[in-house]
């Protein structure tokens, strides 16, 4: 090994170590306030400042979560079933919302006439909480996945649609003219101008849409689920005053919501907007 290669290898090792250390430090920094909150909470319950059958200590909630995950006990694995069902419903609703809202958003953003006709309807529906549709959908479809997914779809579709419209309408006409003057066709303009320019707004819409779908899910499952889902579990636990199980459900909702953001949208942003922004900063890319 030449001294240059050895030096390069040591430098790489140092960089990797630094990156790992930095990541660990950031994780600790992120978890520290949460750990502090849990400690205060645990202490308050143990000191008798809060009654455990109203506010169970975190240790009780964790113990209950372990019971629900333990496949050797009768209710074992049930938590995973509830989580899987809720994820299926929320992600299905989100996928439908994306499939409907993005093309429609582009259409409305590009065509002033269609926008003038449709925007009053959107303005009317936008402020309506999706959960308000549940009683009507229950009459139409009864309890079950169709009603829940439809309610979540209604929760997700408007943020995505609205953000797409805003993103498309914010693209400057000059950029389009410049690319067109260079001989670009509609496909080129769409892929190389419209889509990248719309992405930041679209990304915000997708995040909001997913968050709305996830939040709406709980209420929809409380009202319309037949036998599974985190919302159903919380509702059933409430009916039988099983407070630790209610907290397990709530914690799962929070953690899964955070993981979706982290594992679905952060990679998506890294692969699109951040990468393209980087490319623009470096000197552009065709």
């Amino acid at each position: 090994m030449t001294p240059d290669v050895a030096e390069g290898s040591a430098l790489l090792k140092e960089r990797v170590t630094f990156a790992l250390f930095d990541r660990a430090a950031r994780t600790v920094k992120f978890l520290l306030p949460i750990a502090a909150l849990l400690l205060v909470w645990e202490g308050a319950v143990r000191a008798g400042l809060a009654e455990s059958n109203i506010l169970p200590a975190p240790s009780m909630v964790i113990a209950r979560a372990i019971e629900l995950l333990d496949v050797t006990n009768p209710a074992g694995g049930m938590l995973l079933t509830h989580i899987a069902t809720s994820l299926y419903r929320a992600l299905s609703a989100f996928a439908f919302a994306v499939l409907v809202a993005i093309p429609l958003g582009f259409l409305l953003g590009l065509s002033g006439t269609v926008y003038r006709w449709v925007s009053p309807v959107i303005s009317l529906l936008l402020p309506l909480p999706a959960v308000a549709w549940t009683p009507i959908l229950l009459v139409a479809f009864g309890q079950g996945d169709v009603t829940i997914i439809t309610v979540c779809f209604l929760g997700a579709v408007f943020p995505v649609l609205y953000s797409t419209i805003q993103g498309v309408r914010s693209v400057s006409r000059q950029s389009v003219w410049v690319v067109r003057s260079m001989g670009a066709n509609f496909g080129d303009i769409f892929v190389r101008v419209m889509l990248p320019a719309t992405l930041p707004a679209l990304m915000s819409g997708l995040k909001l849409g997913m968050a709305h779908a996830w939040r709406t899910l709980v209420a929809a499952e409380m009202l319309a689920a037949l036998s599974s889902g985190l919302g159903y579990m919380i509702f059933a636990a409430r009916s039988y005053m099983d407070v630790p199980t209610m907290f397990v459900g709530i914690v799962c909702l929070a953690v899964i919501g955070m993981l979706i953001e982290h594992f679905l949208f952060v990679p998506l942003e890294n692969a699109t907007t951040r990468k393209w922004e980087g490319a623009i900063h470096v000197g552009g890319r065709r």
Binding site: E51, N53, P74, S227, Y232, A236, R238, Y240, D242
Partner: protein, 329 residues
């Protein structure tokens, strides 16, 4: 010879046909099925846990609903053949759509399933001790109507208390935390709250009234499937017997069934709740008579046009047939 052969052939064909017909009848009898709407209450949890239809060759298609209202909506929409309804909803249906259903059984009744709870440290032991105090209750519920009758019987009225309307699931915590001085709730909420050691029951509404629920069957279904309905009522008799004779086992079964959805509840609490709920499915005149004052007050308030003929909706023959069926088991 040819004639004899032909005769044998005819006999064989007839025998074959007879076998096929018999098999067809047999399979039709075995294929009795019924769609039942249930709720998240202990007796229904016991019902879900065991295949009560099996001894009678009855396929039970069970659907769970979060409330009686949802169950009745599904019933009216034709998604279930059987549901059970409390007084006010039943009166409304009897007044508006009497031709759509029969009353075939009683289900979950008795004043003991309603109680008044107070915090463990409370010194109150009677309703008189709570005069002028805050009482948490689900106003408009059957429980609250029974509570009002109870107050009248004790020379009191609603105005003697500060009634705080709340969800039944929240009453225990409200009592425990002193937000209200007492709570009026129904089973299993009272028994579970007692079992948690958070509150104590000081009053039972036993003897005030029975506040019955009734089992409703869609007429079109009952007319086409009388055997299925009789078999279903037989399963209710078996359920009632199990709960009455083996409440401990029934509590355990219910707790295990509830745990299937990931919820933890003490079997002892459910056993206590089940001992406070009457389950005999026979529709008696006394139970039906309790619908009259409800209907009269609703008619007086203009909610219905006239007091319905409840007796005309009752079909006793299914219960009688069900008794015969259970006797043969």
């Amino acid at each position: 010879m040819f004639k004899a052969l032909s005769f044998v052939k005819s006999l064989a064909t007839a025998a074959g046909l007879a076998t096929l017909v018999a098999a067809g009848i047999g399979s039709a009898a075995a294929a009795d099925s019924i769609r039942v709407g249930l709720q998240a209450v202990p007796p229904d949890e016991v019902y879900k846990a065991r295949d009560f239809g099996a001894p009678y060759g009855l396929d039970l298609e069970l659907s769970s609903f979060s409330s009686g209202s949802d169950s009745l909506k599904a019933f009216l929409a034709g998604r279930v053949d059987v549901a059970n309804g409390g007084s006010a909803r039943l009166v409304t249906m009897a007044a508006q759509q009497p031709d759509t259903f029969y009353i075939v059984a009683a289900n979950q009744y008795g004043g003991d399933r309603y109680g008044v709870i107070v915090a463990n440290e409370s010194t109150a032991t009677s309703i008189a001790d709570l005069k002028g105090k805050k009482i948490g209750a689900v106003t408009g519920s059957g429980t609250f109507n029974t509570f009002r009758v109870f107050l009248e019987q004790n020379g009191l009225s609603e105005s003697d208390f500060e009634i705080v309307n709340m969800k039944v699931e929240d009453i225990r915590a409200a009592v425990q935390r002193g937000i209200v001085d007492a709570g009026v709730a129904w089973e299993p909420h009272v028994a579970i709250a007692e079992n948690l050691g958070a509150v104590k029951r000081i009053i039972s509404m036993e003897g005030v009234n029975e506040s019955p629920n009734f089992v409703l069957v869609r007429r079109s279904f009952a007319d086409e499937n009388p055997d299925a309905v009789a078999k279903y009522v037989a399963t209710l008799i078996d359920l009632a017997n199990l709960i009455k004779t083996k409440p401990e086992e029934a509590g355990q079964i219910a707790a295990e069934q509830i745990s299937q959805s990931g919820v933890n509840v003490e079997p002892a609490a459910l056993e206590l709740a089940l001992t406070r709920i009457k389950m005999d499915p026979q529709v008696t005149d006394a139970l039906l008579a309790e619908l009259l004052p409800v209907a009269e007050s609703m008619a007086a308030a203009g909610k219905i046009d006239a007091v319905p003929d409840f007796k005309g909706l009752v079909r006793d023959e299914y219960y009688e047939k069900a008794r015969e069926l259970t006797a043969t088991q």
